[in-house]
Structure formats: structure tokens, C-alpha cells
Amino acid sequence: MEEARVGVFLSDGGGYLSTILDLNAIKSYVEKLSNVVQVEMRSDFSWGEDLQIIIDAVKSGKINRVVATHNLLSLGDVKIVQAIEKAGLNPYLVTVLNLKDYCAWPHQDKPDEATEKAKAILLAAVERSKLLEPIKRLEFPTLKSVLIIGAGIAGIQAAMSLSELGYEVHLIEREPFIGGLAARAGRFFPTDDCALCIQSPCSDVKTITDTSRKCVYRSGFSEIPNLNILTNSRVLSVQGVPGKYTVGIEKRPRYIDEDKCIRCNLCTEICPVEVPDEYNVNLKTRKAVYINIPYSYPPVYVIDEDACKFHECEKCVDVCPTNAIFLDQKPEKISLNVGSIIVATGFEIYDSAAIKEYHYDDYPDVITNLELARMIDAFGPTEGAIIKPSNKQPAKKIVFIQCVGSRDQRHKKYCSSICCMISLKHAIQIKEAFRNMDITICYIDIRTTGREHEEYYERARALGIKFVKGRPTEVTHDPESNKLTVDVEDALLRRLLQLQADLVVLAPAMVAARGSEELASMLGLELDDDGFFKEYNAKLRPTETKMKGIFICGGATFPKDAPTSSIQAHSAALKASKFLSEGKIVKDQVTAVIDEEYCGDCEFCPVTCPFGAITLEPITEGHFVAKVSDLLCEGCGICVGTCPLHAIELRHYRSDQMRAEMQALLSLNEKSKPLIFVFACKECGGTADDAVAMAMKQYGSNMRVMKVPCTGIVRVEQILEAFKMGAQRVVISGCKSDGCHYETGVQIVEKRVELARQILKEMGIEPGRLLLFKSVFIEGLGILKVAKGAIKWLEKIGPLQLAEDA
């Protein structure tokens, strides 16, 4: 490699910095450093003429490494790096420092010490610069197609958005009909319109006649050329990388040709097999060839494989006027190539039988809100009549029980967030249709937090729906009168009530969809403690996952109402579109690299990598080495810190680069004592010195900070090395345990700190010399306490004595 010729450019802020730092002394110190060929001092190297000096030096070839300083806490460094990159130097050979905020200001009461620290910082930058290498910019092609898993409200909305944007969209649904939980709900709050309506882009295409903007059956969305809807289908396998996945799909046979079926109902009429209709609360039966609800989509019948007698019967085949029935259809294996995947698998209701005291399994007149929704639906099994399933007689008294399994430490500890609104909606619908219906809602707290939601509560009260503040202990059934009794205390009356009911409606907890675990493992995603998919960041990246190229929306992350699912669907669509729009992923190769000579079969790094970027590849018989995907690697370095054989390096944070920097930072300390060395991550945890600078607070110049991508890169040996190099105390400044930007870095380093402390103890060194400080920016001033506390403590215990051979 070409010898390093370093140019150092000091911004003095129009002379301001000289009021604290002895800049002339610093300049002449830097001029004497090896490999430094040019040193300039000007007002501000981040723009204008001053910046031009760096550009000229780079262009002329006089220098091939840049160390520049600026005086802004914001990203003044970006301007400098970008200008130099434009001038032809690889941006990873440029180091930009801020002497004002990290050195001059915080030590302004001790200018001598500040000057000494400034020299150390510049020496460290120069020493590191000499070892830097250019980093390549990589490109990975991406396909302009998206797979959406789950065709409920969220999946359908996301599919609409993406097909409108011109992507090839595959929307798959494991049930024979789309719509998910939403389709069974009948109506939605807060719009009070049909559950199964969509905003189809086809409604804008005026050539399609009779289209409706919203009604699913005539929205024409099945006619969208770039939208492929696959019902009765499930994901079997996912292979490949972000931008280029191959997805194996199994499509179960419908036995009825979707194009030929004209929905004449002759097949259903003649079918001799009757089975309970679970979809419709078992309130009626259905045939082996059936359609869930008249407005189900696609408007095509399906044959129930478990019930149909197939060739023993064939009556439907004979009667079908369009020859649409094919009893020999076989499951189809489909392979799709997609650039991105959106998980929209939704949620489902918790098994109410688990709450034994409500006897859901024992008493037929105890039903769930989903079953009630089917009764309310005019297309449903009772055509809108509210009946007792036990004897099909009209119900006159209904008691709703809220929080069945929700907010319950024995079942689901969270609030399912939509059940209050569902019960209010149902109660209002029933009361409006049957004014004499006696309705009571037993609640712990009524939660109507959305826009126009409280109006439902108001309407319910105005309609005479009764509310009891209390969670019932039990539902009992009197076989003689066939009545139910709900035992509950109204806390506001402080009185026990025994509510008689014809029908008890439970509001079960909403839980993760079945199969989430299997899908998560196929996609490399994680589930939270409640079994829902984990998003990347609940606040800032709610529809992204830690896997690049895989997005998420709707109830898959937590129970949601339709408007929120819809918002998320469009957000996920936007993120997927942004990811695929260029047709390629452009990424700097700031990634981990394996030394295959040392790497040997231990499997630590593939397990540790939070992004699934490391795989084991066979080299010779029975021997594996790790391989890093440049596409998936996020450059955190957690693997580097984990590798027991030092066989992994981060290209832009190599151990020799870090060692050189540490050595330099700890070398100049005539005046600044006792030395405290800080490994600080570049994310939340490492903003402590920003916080101190912004608050214009002071700390000792004896604290020397080295930034690393994530504290997860720090190895135990490096900690020990810092002590050997003269640090009296070592602080690791990282993010909060649940706030690591690389998921697990700080949790892993926590364990390493424990280990290092044990080793220190063995070596006769006080374990307290090593400290882990975890913070977010707004807690960053806490580092001041650490700094002050360290000095006091170190004075008390005295300097570190290392044996010669240590």
C-alpha cells in the first residue's frame, strides 16, 4: 500500500479556540509527527476557501489521508467528508474531529490540560489515519416485486399501495377467502361502514364499468394486472437475501376453477354432506362445497377436503353448468422471486375456554364478540337476529364481559386495545335494532382512546346501555330456566350484583396469529414475549424489522383497529417501495471480514450476529469457516468482540487501528491525571460527551474517549490493554440494555465486563476500575458524575501497579 501522507487541518473558529487552547504549540507538535506532510490552521475547514485548501491538497496528490477539525456539534463533518470524496479521496481515509466541544470547552478552566489532550486527540487521529484503508462501495441488485403474507385489512391495503406504485405484488392468504378477521367483523368503528371494503386503484380506471371505489366484490382489484392474489396458500420456505428472495409457496386446491365459477349455488344445493359451519359460530351448517358469507372474496366456491366424498359422490361435478369443478386438482408448489416481503399476518382471538370460570366451552349461550358479530351481520347465520344458541330463541338480556384473558397476569398481561370499542359498537348496533334489548357491559376500565371513539361510549349511554364497573368472577347456568347468571361487584355502588342473562358475550384477548413462530424462523425475525412480531423500533421504525427488506404491518405486531392497520400498511408499502425503487441497494463495505486461516468451526459468530449475516461454509471435509454477507452485515462489530480466535475484523475498525488510537490517547498525560479511558459507542451511549458539551459543563481532561461503532466490539483483551497502556480506570459507555442500536451489543458487553472484572480480580487489580455506563442522550450528563466519582475513588485507592510481566 502507498505510504500515508497525512494532512492536518485545524479550524480555530476565527481565533476563538486560541482563547483556550495553545493552538500554535499544537500545530508545531503535529508538524513533527511522522507521515504528516501538511498542517494548516484556518477559521473553519467545513466550507469555502478553507475547505478548498484541503480539496486542492487532495487533488494535487500531496496528501492521501485527511485529519480535519471543525467546531460544530452538528454534522459539520459530513460537508468536509463529502467534499473530499468528490475531490477523489475515499471517504474512509478522512477523519474529522471536534476539538472545541470535546476538548476546549469542557476543560476551559484548565487550558494547559486541554492543550495536552488536544495533542493526544490529534496524535490518535494521525496514528489511526496511517492504518486506514479505503472502503469499497458495493451494489446489490433488487427485484421490483413484493410478497405480502396475509390478506386481511393490512395486507390488502399494502397490496393496493404497492400495485399502484407499479410493483409486482403477490398477496397470499392461507384461508380460501381474503379479508381475515376483518371480514368476520361485519362493521367497523369509527366509520360504521362495511368491514370488507377496500380502496382499489381500479376505481380510477374508468374503462372498467360498474366499479366501486370501495366494495370489494366490484372494486375490480382482482383485475389489477400486477397484483397476484393467492388464496388457500402458505409459505413453505424463504431463501435468498434482501432484494432477491426465492419463496416457496404451497397452494392447496380449491377444486373449483376461479375463472369458470359463476356462483350459481347449484353445487351447494346438491351437495349431500353437511358439516357445522364454524365460521358462522356453528349456528348453522354448511355443505362440503361452500362459500363463507355471500360477499366473501374471491366470489368462488371452495370444497372442504376433510368433508367432501370426492369421487364417491361427484354430484356437484355433474350439476355444474360451466364445468368449473375439478376433483382431481392437486396441491401446487409455486416458487416466487421477490425483492421484499411484508408480513401482515394479523392477530386472532384467545381461546376463551382457558378462562374456566366463564364456561365458554360448557354453556352454548356464552359466546365471543366474534361470534356475536356473525349474528349481527344480516348476511350471517341468523340474518341479524340475536338468539340464544342453546335453543335458537331470541335473546332479551345480554351481558358483555370485557378483558377476558386481557390485562390478566395468568393469561395475557397486555390490554388488547380494541375490545372496548368492539363491545360498544356491537351493543349500539343491537340496541339500535332492538330497542327493548337489555344490555349491560361489565368493564374494568372503558378505553376509548382514538379519534371519535368516545362518541361510541356517549351513544351507548344515550341508548340506555348499562355499565357495571367490575370484572365478574363467574358465569353460572341454571338448567331449569336455561338462564345465565353473572356474578359481579359494581365497585361504584360497592354492591354485589347477580345479572341475569340470556346471552353472555365475552371480549377475549387478541393474540398473535397461529403459525407466527414458524414464519418468524423462516424469515429470521424475532417474536416478543407475547408472541407478536418484533418491529425494528416501535417509535421510529414501526413497520421495519431488523431484517433489511422485510417489513411488517397491522396486527402482526400487536392488536390494532382497522384505521391503525391501514396506516401501517401504507407505511410498510412506502418502506418496501423505498427499498426497491432504485433496483439496487448501494452500501459501503463497512462490514466484518473473516480470516479463514484462523477461523475454526466454533459457531460463536453466526449465533451472536443480530442480523443473521454470518453463515458457516464448508471448506474441507468436516471443516467449516464463517462467511460474512456484505449485504446483511450492519458493521456493528459484535462478532469481532465475540470471536475467541481473533479471526474477525471490522474493515473500518480493525484491531491495529484501534490499538494505535488507544495508545496515542493514553500517551500524553503529564498534566492530566489520573487517566480514565472510555470506549464509547457511536449511538445513544456515546452521546454523553455531546450532552456535556451542549450543556457547557466541564470535566477533567484526564478522560480520554475512543468512539467505536457499538460497545459490542470491545474485547476483554482490549480492556486489559487499556490498563496496560496507562489507564487508571476504563469506562464502557453504551446504550441502555433494551436500546442497543444493534439489538444485543450492550447486553453482550455487559457479560464481557463481568468476565474482565473477574480477570482483574485474579490479577490483583480492583475490579471497580472497570465500569459500564449506560445512557441515552438526555441522561448523558451522568457521565460527569462518573468522571468526578472516578477521580475521588482513584485518589483513595491509589495508582494502578502492574507487574512487569502483566
Binding site: E357, C403, R407, D408, Q409, R410, H411, I444, D445, K469, G470, R471, P472, T473, E474, D487, V488, E489, D490, A491, R494, R495, L496
Partner: protein
């Protein structure tokens, strides 16, 4: 220290703060069914809010029969019966105790049984074909109780007062 904290620091009292007042305990409670004097939800709320006197000097905490229905049904896993025991202990230390409990205590200390054995009991057992009750080994028990300062706790003035 707050009253509620004193309770949660005690064995059995730990779950006091989890209660969100749903009232499942009340509708599960056989005592609440026959008297409005005892409402477990209210006792817990008073304790949470630190209304010490009412809890410690009132009758409510002594009405619990320890049937544990409430513990069984509570969705927040509040061990209501145990919390009430913790509060009873505090009341005991503050010398607020129903007379019967002092009798229980002395019977336990002197005979090794909480419920004194009467001729009536012996006869009933014989009627049912049960063997006569054996001596309890009360001497050993008394040694243990003495080591635990049992007598002192039951008679001394409470620290809380």
C-alpha cells in the same frame, strides 16, 4: 416509610400494589356475599392509599376466612388473603386484635393446638371412629416459640404506634 410500602415489605404483602380494582375478589368472596362489612377490594384500596388507621383498627381484615377464592380468581395475581395476613400481623403488633386471637395464641402456646380439645371433641371423634388425639409434644414447641419470641410479639405494643 409509607404504609403501603410497609405492607409490601412484609412476607405475603408483596403483591399489594398490583391491584387495579376490578372487583373480581369481591364477587368471589363468600363473606362479602353475607355482609357489606367486608369488601376485599376496598381493604386493598385503603391500604394502597395509606389509610392506615381504618385498616389496622377496623374489623374488616379479621372477617376474611382465608378461603383463597380471591387469590384464585385475581387477574393481577394479587395474593389478597396473604396481604390481609400481613395487615393482620401489623394490627397485632399494634395491639389491635380481636380477643379470640389472644385465646388462640395462648391455647397454641400452652397446648400446642389453636382450637382447645374439649370432651365434646373427643366424644365426636370416638363417634366417627377416629383415634383419640395424641399429645402434641408441646414442650418442644414451647422451646421453639420462646426462641422466636412468640409470647413477646403477641403481647407487646406495636412498633407502628
Amino acid at each position: 416509610m409509607e404504609f403501603s410500602e410497609k405492607i409490601t415489605n412484609r412476607i405475603g404483602g408483596e403483591t399489594l400494589t398490583s391491584c387495579y380494582q376490578c372487583g373480581t375478589c369481591v364477587s368471589s368472596c363468600p363473606i362479602a356475599r353475607i355482609t357489606s362489612e367486608f369488601n376485599p377490594r376496598e381493604v386493598i384500596k385503603l391500604a394502597q392509599l395509606g389509610v392506615r388507621e381504618e385498616v389496622i383498627t377496623g374489623d374488616a381484615i379479621w372477617l376474611c376466612t382465608s378461603c383463597y377464592n380471591c387469590n384464585e380468581r385475581c387477574p393481577q395475581k394479587v395474593e389478597i388473603a396473604e396481604v390481609i395476613y400481613a395487615m393482620r400481623n401489623m394490627a397485632f403488633e399494634a395491639s389491635n386484635k380481636p380477643a379470640i386471637y389472644a385465646e388462640f395464641a395462648s391455647a397454641f402456646k400452652e397446648q400446642g393446638r389453636v382450637v382447645p380439645v374439649s370432651q365434646f371433641v373427643e366424644k365426636k371423634r370416638a363417634d366417627y371412629g377416629l383415634p383419640p388425639l395424641q399429645p402434641t409434644g408441646v414442650e418442644a414447641l414451647q422451646k421453639i416459640l420462646a426462641a422466636l419470641s412468640f409470647g413477646k410479639t403477641s403481647s407487646k405494643e406495636g412498633e407502628d404506634k
